[in-house]
């Protein structure tokens, strides 16, 4: 177990390293980094100063060292627009993103898991095709379109829900649904396929042969096994949700991290963009690590095999 954790942490650190190298290289190698890292409209002396400060006159590996150490010490730069450290901005917005993601996650599980189970139990039947259609729509419809149609309907025509901003629960409904639908579809698909796989397993067959009532076969023997991968995915997706809500938050003007990213792009505020991307990637790597370790605790077979 210890060995497994050490190995898994090693992989994660490697991933973080490669991620930082990727981001670093993209910024330095494609075009002139000064245009990104230096405020628009800076004077030539300022630019020269900045070049020196970022070490852009140094060899590439020295530049990387500066870049990496500043990240590790939590110095992600200043926002050009807000004139505050980007990390501060990030943590200001994080609670809003968490709120949105949590509600969207609850919605997606409430929709995704029961419909996935139903589709698997009635495979080939009406509920299966209904669920398939629902999930296909969820995966196919662009989120900004869903958001705009919801606004058109609930805000413009019916006037029931506020179209943008944050505040009460009413503000949350539409963005959470828009974000949640995509994930509900993903959770439904996974629940269905994992349920189908479990229903085909020998131990479920044996449960039937024991003469258990169908409700017990599905509710006890099949469900618990089938939900393990779904819960795992949901755990990872919660973090993913925080980081992919950019479109939803833009449409509904929800002041989360996605909105911050959008502002970063529109105001050409590159330190903000870089911060959101780096922290998002790191967060997901860490969550993957935690899930893997947790998994190994639950199911010792994984430790031995992988």
């Amino acid at each position: 177990m210890k060995q497994f954790i050490v190995r898994r942490v090693g992989y994660s650190l490697l991933s973080l390293f490669l991620l930082s190298v990727t981001i670093f290289l993209f910024v330095r190698v494609t075009g002139d980094p000064t245009t990104l890292l230096v405020e628009p409209g800076a004077s030539p002396e300022d630019i020269e100063n900045m070049r020196h400060q970022f070490g852009l006159d140094q060899p590439l590996w020295v530049q990387y060292w500066l870049f990496a150490t500043s990240f590790v010490t939590g110095d992600l730069g200043q926002s050009f627009y807000y004139r505050t450290p980007v990390l501060e901005l990030y943590f200001q917005r994080l609670p809003n993103s968490l709120q949105l993601a949590a509600v969207a996650m609850v919605l997606s599980l409430l929709i995704g898991i029961p419909s996935g189970i139903l589709a698997a139990v009635r495979v080939g039947g009406f509920w299966d095709s209904a669920g398939k259609t629902f999930s296909l729509l969820g995966l196919s419809l662009p989120q900004f379109w869903v958001g705009l149609v919801l606004i058109l309907f609930f805000s413009v025509y019916l006037g029931w829900l506020p179209s943008s901003g944050s505040g009460g629960i009413l503000h949350l409904l539409m963005p959470a649904f828009t974000l949640g639908w995509y994930f509900a579809a993903a959770h439904m698909r996974l629940t269905r396929s994992s349920m189908l796989e479990v229903l085909d397993s020998e131990y479920v067959k044996l449960a039937r042969l024991k003469g258990l009532p169908e409700a017990l076969v599905i509710g006890k023997h099949a469900l618990k096994n089938a939900l393990i991968p779904v819960i795992t995915l949901a755990g990872i997706n919660l973090v993913v949700m925080i980081n992919v809500a950019v479109v939803v938050e833009t449409v509904f003007a929800w002041p989360g991290i996605g909105r911050l990213l959008y502002e970063g792009i529109t105001f050409r505020d590159f330190p903000v963009v870089q911060c959101v991307v780096v922290l998002g990637g790191s967060m997901i790597i860490v969550v993957n690590l935690l899930v893997d370790i947790l998994y190994a605790y639950i199911d010792p077979r994984i430790r031995l095999e992988s």
């Binding site: 397993s201 020998e202 131990y203 479920v204 067959k205 044996l206 449960a207 039937r208 042969l209 024991k210 003469g211 258990l212 009532p213 017990l216 023997h221 618990k224 096994n225 199911d299 010792p300 077979r301």
Partner: protein, 342 residues
């Protein structure tokens, strides 16, 4: 017939494709019977309908399949038209079944005690604690050491051999009268297979069980069974006491099958090969379904399917050669090997 434990009378089960255009006669007019405490082997190649037959008896056929005719008499009751809820009370309580892969038959997330005691709780309304106690006894009865600790463990904490025994204990939990084993040993190594067969034999002795072995392996039948039924293309083509069928097969298919297995005890240059492939069950020929591959087939076989001829009490074959008049000369009409025939 009345004192038989299980008797199947002209049982047929068909698969019907979604459009209803393809009908696969997986089990066709099967008649079989089994006494209490007896062991029956059902032998056939893949696609012969032997596994479908097991699921038919337990009424656990997949959705696409249904029983289209016949009676399944078990302890004097017809299982075919039993309501689903009552049928459920037969499974696990009066008829138990063991699946192909004993290693994968245990749910990884529940304790051994839970899984062994589960049938008791469902069928006999045992309380959690009494089911647990009886699970300990059952685990002890399949000769697993320190049952008190084992009962609280999870399947992955046990070796493959122990899991096999646990599956046996689950089957025995409600003291069933009949145990069906579907290809119980295909995935096992030889010595492990022998241990498993030994365990089943022991359970049979101590519990007075009747056993049905569904297998493609004639060796298992030779080792374990009293009675034998040979299936081909959904039908039982020959049945009878094992030693009689092995020594004097009536049906050319049985004969060829016996001739096709290599034997340790005698040197044979050539094995009897059965040419060709089994027929498509959705598109069976008009006559005998084995006629196309049969070295002894004659004109009548191509046009008319033979009925089940009873040759002597408890012995029958679906072959024109077994018809009363020609029976005496069977050994002369069927050549032993294909090479001798051509």
């Amino acid at each position: 017939m009345a004192n038989k434990l299980l008797s199947l009378e002209n049982v047929s089960a068909h698969y019907v494709s979604q459009q209803g255009t393809r009908v696969v006669r997986a089990v066709d007019e099967v008649t079989l019977s089994l006494d209490a405490g007896e062991t029956l082997g059902i032998v056939g190649e893949s696609g012969s309908g032997k596994s479908t037959l097991a699921l038919t008896i337990l009424r656990l056929l997949p959705k696409a399949a249904r029983i289209v005719g016949g009676r399944i008499m078990f302890e004097g009751e017809d299982l075919v038209d039993k309501p689903a809820a009552e049928m459920r009370r037969v499974r696990g309580k009066r008829i138990a079944m063991i699946l192909q892969d004993p290693m994968a038959s245990l749910n990884p997330l529940f304790t051994i005690g839970d899984q062994v005691g589960e049938p008791l709780r469902v069928h006999e309304g045992a309380s959690r604690s009494s089911a647990w106690q009886r699970a300990i006894d059952l685990i002890k009865s399949v000769r697993i050491a320190s049952p008190q600790t084992r009962v609280a463990q999870f399947p992955h904490e046990m070796s493959g051999g122990m899991r096999q025994r646990i599956v046996g204990a689950i089957g025995m939990s409600c003291e069933p009268r009949l145990l069906i084993a579907d290809e119980p040993t295909t995935s096992l190594d030889l010595t492990i297979q022998a241990q498993y067969l030994d365990l089943l034999r022991e359970l049979q002795r101590t519990h007075g069980l009747a056993l049905i072995f569904i297998t493609h392996n004639l060796g298992i039948v030779a080792k374990m069974c009293d009675q034998l039924a040979v299936m081909y293309a959904g039908r039982v083509v020959e049945q009878g006491p094992v030693s009689r069928v092995f020594s004097q097969p009536l049906h050319p298919y049985t004969k060829a099958l016996l001739g096709s297995i290599p034997r340790m005890t005698e040197e044979r240059e050539q094995l009897t090969a059965i040419d060709g492939q089994p027929p498509d069950l959705a598109n069976l020929p008009a006559g005998c379904s084995f006629a196309a591959r049969c070295p002894a087939a004659f004109a009548r076989c191509q046009v008319e399917a033979p009925p089940d001829f009873t040759v002597e009490p408890g012995r029958s074959a679906r072959c024109w050669l077994a018809a009363p008049t020609v029976h005496a000369s069977i050994d002369q009409t069927i050549p032993l090997s294909r090479s001798a025939a051509s």
